[in-house]
C-alpha cells in the first residue's frame, strides 16, 4: 500500500494550531489566576462571596479542561500534519466554534450566575435552588455543545485523513505489527497515538453531546427527564475520556520533539502498539471509578473501575515513561527549557497517576473521594503533566534551531513552576488525607493551614507560567518562525 507522508508540507502564514496554542497559553494564565483567587479566598486572604466563588470554580474547571483540550488537539494537529494531509479549514471551524462556545459559557457564568461546576452533574443545571435561571443553564449547555461539536469535527477530519493515508484506522494503530509482528511501512508513534485518541475521544464526545442535549431538552420540555444514574455514567464517561485525551494528545509532542535532543528516534514497536491498544480500551472502560460511592451501581462495574484504574498506570509506566528514560539515558542530550518541560510533563503525569490509582481502590475511595485528594492528583498530572508538555511545545515552536542548554532565567522559571506545582499538588494531597472536602467556598478555620501555602504555591506557578508565555510569544507570533522543526 502507499502511505502519503507530509514531512515538509507547506505551512500557511498563520497556522491555526499555533494560534490555538497561543490562545491556550493565554487562557491557562487566566485560569491559574482564578485558581490562586480561590485558594486565597479559602485562606481568608481575599474576600469572595460563595456565589462568586462557585462561579469562579465553574469557570476555572471548564476553562482548564477546555483549554487542555484546545492545546492538546493543537499539538496533535500540528504534528499529525507532518504525516498525513489535514484540511486546516476544519481546525479554523473548530476555533470558531470553540470561541463562540466560550462566549456563551462565560456569559452564562458571569452574567447569568451559572455555577454548576464544570461537570454539570444532572440535574443540577436545571435545579439551581433559584440561583440561576433555566435559560442561563441552556445558554451554558449550548456553549458546551458548540465546543464539543468543534472537537468532534477535528477528530472526524483526523479519522478521515488517517484512513486515507493508512488504509484504515487499524493499520494506523499498528495492529498488523501488534498481531502478526510485521507491517510495512510501520506507522510512526504520532500516527498510532492520533488514531487511538481519535477513536476514544470521538466516542466520549458523542456521549457528552447526548447528555448535554437531554439536559437542554429537560429544561425546555418539562415532560423530558433522564435517569440520574444513567446521566452520571454518561457525564463521567465523557469527562474522564476527554480529560485523559488531552494528556494523550499532548504526549505526541514528546514523541516528536525529544528525539531532536536525544538523537534517538521514537519508534513504533510491538509493545508500543500494544500499549496504545490497551490505552484505547482502558481509558473508556475505567470511568466507573468515578462512581465507586454509588452502591447501586452493579458490583462488576465497580470492580472494573478499581482494577482498570491500576491497570491504566501500567502501559504509561512500562512504555511511555520507561521509553522516555531509555531514549534519554546516556544519549548526550543537552536539555534546554522546552525539552526540560517536556520531560517534566511525563514525570508529572507518571507521578500524578500514583495517587489517582490508589484513590481508585474502593475502600480508599470511601475516605478520599471528593476530598482535596482528588484535585491533588489531577492537578499533579495536569500542571506538572499536560500543561508542562504544552509549555514545552510552545517554547520549542517559538525558539530557533539548536539547543543552547538552560540559561539562568530558564532555570529560575522552571524552578518557580516546579516548586509551585509540586507544593500546590502535594499540599492538596496532604489536605485530602486530612479529610478537607473539595469544592467548598468556605473553609473551617482548622483547614486554613492547608490553604495559605496553597495560595503561595499557586502564585509561584503563575509567575513561572507567565515567564514561559512571555518568552514564547514573540517566536510564536513571528511569521516564518520554526514550523516543522
Amino acid at each position: 500500500m502507499t502511505v502519503h507522508t507530509v514531512a515538509h508540507r507547506a505551512v500557511p502564514a498563520l497556522e491555526p494550531a499555533r494560534l490555538g496554542l497561543v490562545l491556550g497559553g493565554l487562557v491557562f494564565l487566566v485560569m491559574m489566576g482564578l485558581g490562586f483567587l480561590m485558594k486565597a479566598s479559602q485562606a481568608g486572604l481575599v474576600p469572595l462571596e460563595p456565589q462568586l466563588f462557585y462561579e469562579i470554580m465553574t469557570a476555572h474547571g471548564i476553562g482548564m479542561v477546555g483549554t487542555a483540550g484546545l492545546t492538546g488537539i493543537a499539538v496533535l494537529w500540528h504534528f499529525l500534519g507532518r504525516h498525513v494531509e489535514l484540511d486546516d479549514r476544519m481546525f479554523w471551524t473548530f476555533l470558531g466554534l470553540f470561541l463562540s462556545g466560550v462566549v456563551l459559557i462565560l456569559g452564562g457564568i458571569f452574567l447569568g450566575g451559572f455555577a454548576a461546576a464544570w461537570t454539570f452533574l444532572y440535574p443540577l443545571p436545571a435545579l439551581s435552588g433559584g440561583v440561576w435561571s433555566p435559560s442561563v443553564a441552556v445558554l451554558y449547555l449550548v456553549g458546551l455543545a458548540l465546543v464539543g461539536v468543534g472537537f468532534l469535527l477535528v477528530h472526524l477530519e483526523c479519522a478521515r485523513s488517517l484512513r486515507a493515508a493508512w488504509g484504515g484506522l487499524s493499520r494506523a494503530l499498528a495492529w498488523p505489527l501488534l498481531l502478526r509482528g510485521a507491517q510495512e511501512p510501520i506507522p510512526p508513534p504520532t500516527v498510532v497515538a492520533a488514531a487511538a485518541v481519535t477513536i476514544f475521544n470521538t466516542l466520549g464526545l458523542v456521549f457528552g453531546a447526548a447528555v448535554i442535549l437531554i439536559s437542554i431538552l429537560e429544561i425546555l420540555l418539562p415532560g423530558v427527564s433522564l435517569d440520574p444514574l444513567l446521566a452520571k455514567n454518561m457525564i463521567y464517561f465523557f469527562g474522564h475520556v476527554f480529560i485523559n485525551a488531552t494528556i494523550y494528545m499532548a504526549v505526541i509532542a514528546v514523541y516528536e520533539i525529544v528525539p531532536k535532543y536525544s538523537g534517538r528516534p521514537w519508534k513504533t514497536t510491538r509493545i508500543f502498539a500494544g500499549a496504545w491498544s490497551v490505552v484505547l480500551l482502558f481509558v473508556m472502560a475505567v470511568y466507573p471509578h468515578h462512581l465507586l460511592q454509588d452502591t447501586v451501581m452493579p458490583g462488576w462495574a465497580l470492580v472494573v473501575g478499581q482494577v482498570l484504574s491500576y491497570g491504566s498506570a501500567v502501559p504509561l509506566v512500562a512504555v511511555t515513561t520507561l521509553g522516555l528514560l531509555s531514549y534519554l539515558h546516556r544519549s548526550g542530550a543537552r536539555l534546554d527549557l522546552p525539552a526540560s518541560l517536556l520531560v517534566l510533563g511525563v514525570a508529572g503525569w507518571t507521578a500524578g497517576v500514583m495517587p489517582a490509582w490508589i484513590d481508585g481502590i474502593i475502600a480508599v475511595n470511601k475516605v478520599m473521594h471528593n476530598t482535596l485528594w482528588v484535585p491533588g492528583h489531577f492537578h499533579m498530572y495536569l500542571i506538572l503533566g499536560q500543561v508542562a508538555m504544552v509549555w514545552g511545545t510552545l517554547l520549542w515552536l517559538a525558539r530557533g534551531r539548536g539547543s543552547s542548554g538552560l540559561a539562568r532565567t530558564d532555570r529560575l522559571l522552571l524552578s518557580l513552576y516546579l516548586v509551585g506545582g509540586a507544593g500546590l499538588t502535594l499540599g492538596f494531597l496532604v489536605a485530602g488525607a486530612s479529610s478537607v472536602p473539595r469544592r467548598w467556598a468556605v473553609h473551617d478555620p482548622a483547614w486554613i493551614v492547608h490553604d495559605l501555602p496553597g495560595a503561595l504555591f499557586a502564585l509561584l506557578i503563575l509567575a513561572g507560567a507567565c515567564g514561559f508565555f512571555v518568552k514564547a510569544l514573540p517566536g510564536m507570533l513571528a511569521a516564518g518562525g520554526e514550523r516543522t522543526g
Partner: protein, 172 residues
C-alpha cells in the same frame, strides 16, 4: 487509613522523581546504558510481571470482603437519610456504639454526598445521595461522641453549609 494512603502515594511519587533524577544525571554519552537493548526488555518484562502480581494482591486484599457489604437482620440499626438543597433529613440522629448501622441514602433534588466525620474531623465513610436511587452504606461506630455529616458532592450555592450532627451514645 488516610495516613497509610498518603505514605504509599508519597513513596510512589518519590520513586518516580528518583528515576527521573537518576536518568537526567546520566545524560552524558556512554557505552553501557542499563536502559538499552536486552537489559531494557528484561526490565520492562519485570515491571509488567511485577505490576501484574502486585495488582492481583491489591485486588484480592481490597475487594474481599466486598467493601460495600451491608449487614442485614436483627441488631442492625437502619437510618433513612434524605438530602435536599441544602439540608439533611435523618429519621434518627442518636446512634449506638458497637452495633452495625445501615444508612439508606437518597435525595429529593440533585446529587449530594453523605460524608460522616468523627469528632476529630476525620472522614470515616461516605456514599452518594442521588435522586431516584437509594445508596446503602454500613458503619459500626466504636467511639461515642458528636459526629458531623457534611455534603461531599457539589450541590450549589450553600453546598458548604449543608451539615447535620449524629450523637453516638456510649452504650450499645
Amino acid at each position: 487509613m488516610q495516613e497509610l494512603v498518603l505514605a504509599v502515594s508519597l513513596l510512589a511519587i518519590a520513586a518516580v522523581a528518583g528515576a527521573f533524577v537518576a536518568v537526567l544525571r546520566g545524560l552524558e554519552p556512554g557505552p553501557e546504558s542499563p536502559l538499552a537493548g536486552d537489559r531494557l526488555a528484561r526490565l520492562r518484562q519485570r515491571i509488567l510481571w511485577g505490576a501484574g502480581l502486585v495488582g492481583l494482591v491489591i485486588a484480592v486484599a481490597t475487594l474481599l470482603p466486598w467493601p460495600h457489604v451491608v449487614p442485614a437482620g436483627q441488631g442492625v440499626v437502619p437510618v433513612h437519610v434524605r438530602a435536599s438543597m441544602w439540608a439533611w433529613e435523618l429519621d434518627r440522629t442518636s446512634l449506638p456504639v458497637g452495633v452495625p448501622v445501615v444508612f439508606y441514602t437518597t435525595s429529593s433534588d440533585v446529587n449530594h454526598g453523605f460524608g460522616v466525620f468523627d469528632p476529630k474531623g476525620r472522614l470515616l465513610f461516605q456514599t452518594q445521595a442521588m435522586p431516584g436511587w437509594v445508596n446503602k452504606v454500613a458503619w459500626t461506630f466504636t467511639e461515642p461522641g458528636r459526629y458531623r455529616v457534611l455534603c461531599l458532592e457539589y450541590c450549589g450555592l450553600v453546598h458548604h453549609g449543608m451539615m447535620a450532627e449524629l450523637e453516638v451514645g456510649s452504650t450499645s
